[in-house]
């Protein structure tokens, strides 16, 4: 940056609407730069006496550009107070822009730019419109891409249960992650630009089977990741960190199976929790991390309708607070129950965090992608579970 910013921060802390109000009530004049790691170029809003006069974001300019910015929830901003005589492209008042921008965001007219966004699924039945989350990743590091593959819309990229050990990154387009259920296939997630496909397990242990079917939802270009390079990096990690990676991967697998099960029938909770004791209570501030040595642990969320279980974990798997990865599980949004014979080994959370920050960007992105997928799949499980439960009494009525 050529000049020091007068005000800078993150838009997930202070929303664009609030920021524009703040600059507005201050009567500021200058240039607001917004950068997101999910978008190639920075966006700029020109502000004169507290009112936005022009904006540009990618190919958009003026008001459409400013509206598009309301979707940039995962972004950083910096305000540079400087005077430009800028042509007034935007005529509408500040408050009108803010309220209309938020409305368009809520109406789904403005796409969200971030790791997860929601695409409205094609209308199957009239009001049961289901939003399928779209997971994206940051910009791809081409150093790790050894080959590019193209798939046309509708083509199957990988089949659930088949063997394969490629790890892909989506360079362009969207793919559907589909799981088979007795009621037919169900789309769990959509993966877009920058998202990763394939399991870490299939990559480090040969010949593992695919956990979901992947179908191209649009014309897709995938990048095959450099296996050699990633396994070299993996080999240099500490044993604990390697366990953590495989444990995350296995948790995603378990959470996906639970989601597919929840799609068909609500969870029967009473059985699973009998004889189990609370290990990490939900929303506790416990910052410890453990590796399970012996016994079993169950990750559950307490919901108004009872406990909902997400994953049953066994020896070798990691539980606890990992603040650098937002998987939406314990300790904040889920609790852990353990079998009476549980034996745990405590790990050093600071060491793990240090190691995470030393990873290559691609490896870090892969882990972030897994964590986001866990969190989103968990959310779907909760939604489906509630929906099935709510629908049931209605069916019984004459």
């Amino acid at each position: 940056m050529e000049k020091q910013a007068a005000l800078a921060g993150k838009l997930n802390f202070i929303h664009l609407g609030d920021l524009l109000q703040l600059l507005g009530s201050n009567g500021s004049t200058g240039r607001l730069e917004v950068t997101s790691r999910y978008v190639q170029n920075a966006a700029t809003v020109f502000i004169e006496n507290g009112n936005p006069v022009d904006a540009c974001a990618g190919e958009l300019t003026g008001l459409p550009a400013l509206f598009a910015l309301f979707g940039w929830t995962e972004a950083a901003f910096a305000f540079f107070p400087e005077f430009h005589r800028h042509p007034r492209e935007i005529q509408r008042s500040r408050m009108e822009i803010i309220l209309d921008g938020l409305r368009m965001l809520d109406d789904g007219k403005t796409p969200k730019v971030g790791p997860v966004s929601f695409l409205k699924a094609a209308r199957q039945d009239d009001d049961k419109q289901r939003a399928v989350p779209l997971i994206r990743g940051p910009l791809v590091d081409y150093m790790y891409v050894v080959d590019e593959e193209n798939f046309v819309r509708g083509e199957t990229i990988a089949l659930e249960g088949s063997h394969g050990n490629w790890l892909w990154v989506v360079l362009e387009g969207v793919v559907d992650m589909i799981k088979d259920t007795p009621q037919g296939p169900v789309t769990l997630l959509k993966i877009g630009d920058g998202g990763f496909l394939g399991s870490l397990e299939s990559f480090f242990r040969q010949g593992k089977s695919r956990r979901a079917t992947v179908i191209a939802a649009s014309d897709v270009q995938l990048g095959v990741l450099d296996a050699q390079r990633l396994s070299n990096e993996y080999a240099l990690m500490s044993v604990n960190f390697r366990d953590l990676m495989l444990s995350l991967d296995s948790r995603l697998k378990k959470v996906s199976s639970r989601a597919a099960a929840a799609f068909q029938a609500p969870d029967e909770m009473a059985e699973g929790l009998r004889d189990m004791k609370v290990l990490i209570p939900q929303s506790s501030a416990d910052g410890r991390v453990f590796c399970i040595e012996k016994g079993e642990a169950l990750v559950c969320r307490e919901t108004p309708t009872g406990f909902l279980r997400f994953a049953r974990l066994g020896p070798g798997e990691i539980i606890g607070c990992l603040p650098f990865l937002n998987a939406g599980h314990e300790p904040h949004s889920a609790g852990v129950f353990a079998s009476p014979n549980i034996e745990l080994r405590e790990l050093d959370p600071i060491g793990l965090a240090d190691e995470f920050h030393r990873l290559s960007t691609t490896m870090r992105n892969i882990l972030n992608n897994i964590a986001t997928s866990i969190s989103v799949t968990t959310m779907l499980t909760c939604d489906w579970n509630c929906r099935v439960k709510q629908e049931e009494p209605i069916r019984e009525q004459p």
Partner: protein, 204 residues
């Protein structure tokens, strides 16, 4: 909490009209905008949201005095009731200083009123406030429809339904005819300013 705009030496506070869909929030604000033209600064912003409209404008209360030597400017909002408009609701309700709850007097709307009040309580809690601490005034709207033979709830019944615990001032109004609209707003501003004065004293 109101914004103290140090540059202009003005205190900006927020009053939100809340209530079930089609209860007359928008009619209230439209009447105020027309009837108190002199005290209004700038244009009325009107955003069409599904099934409802979101309105906003700035209002300069006259004769209500100053807080710590600063003029007071009131921003009046309505908020869309539908669940999907969470971003708008968050912007509007965060830091709200006063609420006018507009209840629909039609008999068939009884449950909708109660649901909406519950909803207000839930939302305020979510944004770090409480329905018991926020200055609140109630309005039993559409009283004029009694003359047209449409079944309305009695004022006593509405007060029992909605105001038993809250015990806030309430007014019988007809936003359509403008009856009671000014009184409601004035009372809400009075309570809001009193609460602001109190907050300023505590801060010292």
């Amino acid at each position: 909490m109101a914004i103290f705009n140090l540059k202009k030496r003005v205190i900006e506070c927020k009053i939100v009209y809340y209530g079930p869909g089609r209860c007359g929030k928008t009619t209230n604000l439209e009447y105020i905008f027309k009837a108190y033209k002199k005290q209004i600064k700038g244009e009325m912003v009107s955003i069409n949201t599904e099934g409802d409209r979101t309105l906003f404008f700035d209002f300069l209360p006259i004769g209500l005095g100053k807080v710590k030597g600063c003029d007071v400017r009131v921003q009046l909002y309505t908020v869309p009731g539908q669940v999907q408009y969470s971003s708008t609701r968050k912007l509007v309700l965060r830091g709200v200083d006063g609420v006018v709850f507009v209840a629909d007097s039609l008999k068939v709307r009884r449950e909708k009123n109660m649901e909406s009040l519950q909803d207000l309580q839930k939302n305020l809690k979510e944004y770090g406030s409480s329905v018991f601490k926020t200055p609140l005034v109630m309005q039993f709207n559409k009283r004029d429809l009694a003359g047209q033979g449409i079944p309305l709830m009695s004022v006593e019944q509405m007060a029992r339904d909605l105001n038993r615990q809250l015990k806030v001032p309430y007014f019988e109004t007809s936003a359509f005819l403008g009856q009671g609209v000014g009184q409601t707003l004035k009372e809400c501003m009075k309570l809001t300013l009193q609460s602001l004065q109190k907050q300023v004293q505590w801060a010292q």
